[in-house]
């Protein structure tokens, strides 16, 4: 089943097709929500709400368009509006958050110190830029898709991405340089 088929079937009320979509995207949405909220329970709530909203709105969806940015947009809108409602600052990279419990295969590739400096560098960025990096490098949205999700213009996305990467590079250079000495 292609995504287009799945969407078309969902539009006729096919729950199984929707289940297929949910299972395909639940981890990605969950990861995105977790990175934005740093709260596992909240992330799960957000993902559930996002899927519910997607089901309700799937008839308005053009099946020919990609599903991923559509779902991500629903999720991000929810998270952001919730954070605005609660007037909670977005805490994407709270230092206090415990690190991932498991030690993945990739973990070896990045030293504890490097990870620490990436985290610090990210934290120095405005939260909007953090979301931008997250959506592009974790969620895997293209820049035009990011632009639509965040409601920016594509040019803005590009220039902010460029600036954010520059700052990260500078920060990492310092951190790495220090370490390598």
């Amino acid at each position: 089943m292609t995504e287009e088929e799945a969407v078309r079937r969902c539009q006729t009320g096919d729950r199984e097709a929707f289940r297929w979509l949910v299972e395909r995207y639940q981890d990605l949405l969950y990861g995105t929500a977790f990175l934005m909220t740093r709260d596992e329970a909240l992330a799960e709530d957000m993902v559930q709400e996002a899927f519910l909203a997607a089901w309700r709105g799937i008839r308005g969806m053009d099946p020919r368009r990609p599903v991923r940015p559509w779902l991500v947009r629903i999720l991000v809108n929810r998270v952001l509006s919730r954070q605005r409602r609660r007037s909670l600052p977005s805490v994407p990279l709270d230092e206090a958050t415990p690190l991932a419990g498991g030690v993945g295969a990739e973990e070896a590739a990045i030293t504890q110190a490097l990870r620490h400096s990436v985290r610090r560098a990210l934290l120095s960025l405005p939260s909007a830029d953090q979301h931008l990096l997250l959506l592009h490098y974790y969620t895997g949205l293209t820049l035009p898709e990011v632009a639509r999700v965040l409601g920016w213009r594509e040019g803005t996305v590009k220039s902010r991405l460029h600036r954010a990467l520059g700052r990260l590079r500078a920060a990492l250079g310092e951190g790495q340089g220090g370490k390598e000495v």
Partner: protein, 431 residues
């Protein structure tokens, strides 16, 4: 010792690794679907309730159709180019106009009661209000028309056909005068609601000399007759009862005499009432047909739709002058935003057919009436052009009439609005 900056690719790789590590082994709960499924509302079937864009487009289409229908109807009924070809007279509102529903003061027994007039009269005085029915005004319509026609006999035949075509008949016909100077008086009866149509159809038989129409309200008379009939029937009843009880022959004879007087009266009144009813039902048209005076010239009346009215008038003037005719007058008018010229001209009667042909060539003929001249015994060619032609030149309805502008602008605007709305909805739709 220089700080070595990583390449942008490195930074991107670090970022990807970082995010992945941060999320780590975290996955959405395995039972997410089982918890989600019961919260999904019933399959979003029957789409209309979902998403505003679902019903907006059909709603727009519907209102658009309505709009087009309305404007089309408007265009067909109200625009200036309606019914130019066929201006058939429609039934005039004679009944509404003349047989006005009576106010509450005029009340008579229901028609059923009137029908059963030979049945014994009801014992009870006037029926209860529930059985009363307001009576339509009883109006007799009469009309008269005098026409000069080229052939009286032919006109009589045509008048009869007209009356019969409308459900009427010829009540009376009298012809008088010699063979050459026959005049006719025809009394036509047509259903009251057809009288205006009848007059409309009779008019073209010839030249109308005079015409009149009148009406006479006989409602009071009818009411009066009804009342007298009722009372006579009561008398009849009482006399019959008396007769049953009469003892002496003298009484019986006296009662029978009285009874026959009452019955005679009843019949007379019934006859009157019936006659009135017929006169109300069928209007009377008195048609006087006169032959055209000897030697009277043929005449014609013509209406032609053509562009450039001014230039056409010049052409007409030139053509008439070439045949030694005269243009007696030209009246320019603007009607409904269309130029009109009314030209009265006179030509020699022998030229009339040719001139008419030429005039018809000016444009599209809307109306054409030709009166034959009276056959004059002595074939004397007149010295002056004497056959009159009443020519009307009318600009054809412009393309950009109000109706057409509306008929195009309304649906066009609707389509535009629809397109705009759809575009907006597309913009607002989530990715």
């Amino acid at each position: 010792m220089a700080h070595q900056q990583p390449s942008l690719e490195d930074v991107e790789r670090h970022l990807r690794d970082f995010f992945r590590t941060e999320v780590g082994a975290r996955r959405a709960p395995a039972d997410l679907w089982t918890r989600l499924a019961p919260r999904l509302e019933a399959p979003p079937a029957g789409g209309w309730a979902l998403g505003p864009q679902r019903w907006l487009a059909p709603a727009f289409a519907l209102s658009l159709l309505l709009l087009m229908g309305v404007s089309l109807a408007w265009v067909l009924t109200a625009s200036p180019w309606r019914g130019e070809e066929a201006a058939a007279p429609t039934a005039p509102p004679v009944r509404e106009g003349m047989r006005i529903q009576a106010g509450p003061s005029v009340a008579l027994p229901s028609p059923q009661a009137m029908e059963g007039e030979r049945a014994p009269a009801p014992q009870a005085p006037p029926a209860p209000p529930g059985a009363l029915e307001t009576l339509q005004r009883q109006v007799i319509v009469t009309a008269a028309m005098t026409l000069e026609v080229s052939s009286v006999e032919e006109a009589v035949a045509r008048a009869r056909a007209i009356a019969e075509g409308l459900g009427g008949y010829v009540q009376h016909l009298s012809l008088s005068g010699g063979r050459e100077r026959t005049t006719a008086t025809v009394t036509l009866r047509v259903p009251q609601d057809q009288v205006l149509i009848a007059l409309e159809r009779l008019r073209p038989l010839g030249k109308v000399l005079d015409q009149s129409m009148g009406s006479q309200d006989v409602t009071e008379q009818v009411i009066d007759l009804e009342a007298r009939l009722r009372s006579l029937r009561q008398q009849e009843e009482s006399l019959l009862r008396l007769l049953g009880r009469a003892q002496s022959v003298g009484d019986i004879l006296a009662i029978e005499r009285e009874l026959s007087r009452v019955r005679g009266e009843i019949e007379r009144l019934q006859g009157q009432r019936e006659a009135l009813r017929r006169r109300v039902e069928m209007a009377t048209i008195t048609l006087t047909l006169l032959p055209l005076p000897t030697g009277s010239p043929p005449s014609a009346s013509l209406e032609v739709a053509t562009g450039e009215v001014g230039r056409r008038v010049e052409q007409v003037e030139a053509m008439v002058a070439a045949r030694r005719g005269v243009v007696e007058g030209v009246i320019y008018r603007v009607e409904d935003g269309r130029e009109r010229a009314e030209v009265s001209l006179r030509v020699f009667r022998k030229d009339l057919p040719d001139v008419l042909n030429a005039l018809e060539g000016l444009g599209k003929v809307r109306r054409k009436e030709v009166q034959k001249g009276a056959s004059s015994g002595e074939a004397v060619a007149p010295a002056e052009p004497d056959a009159p032609i009443a020519l009307t030149l009318v600009e054809p309805p412009g393309w950009w009439t109000r109706g057409r502008v509306l008929a195009i602008a309304l649906p066009g605007g609707g389509v535009l609005l629809l397109a705009l709305t759809l575009a907006l909805l597309r913009l607002r739709r989530p990715l």
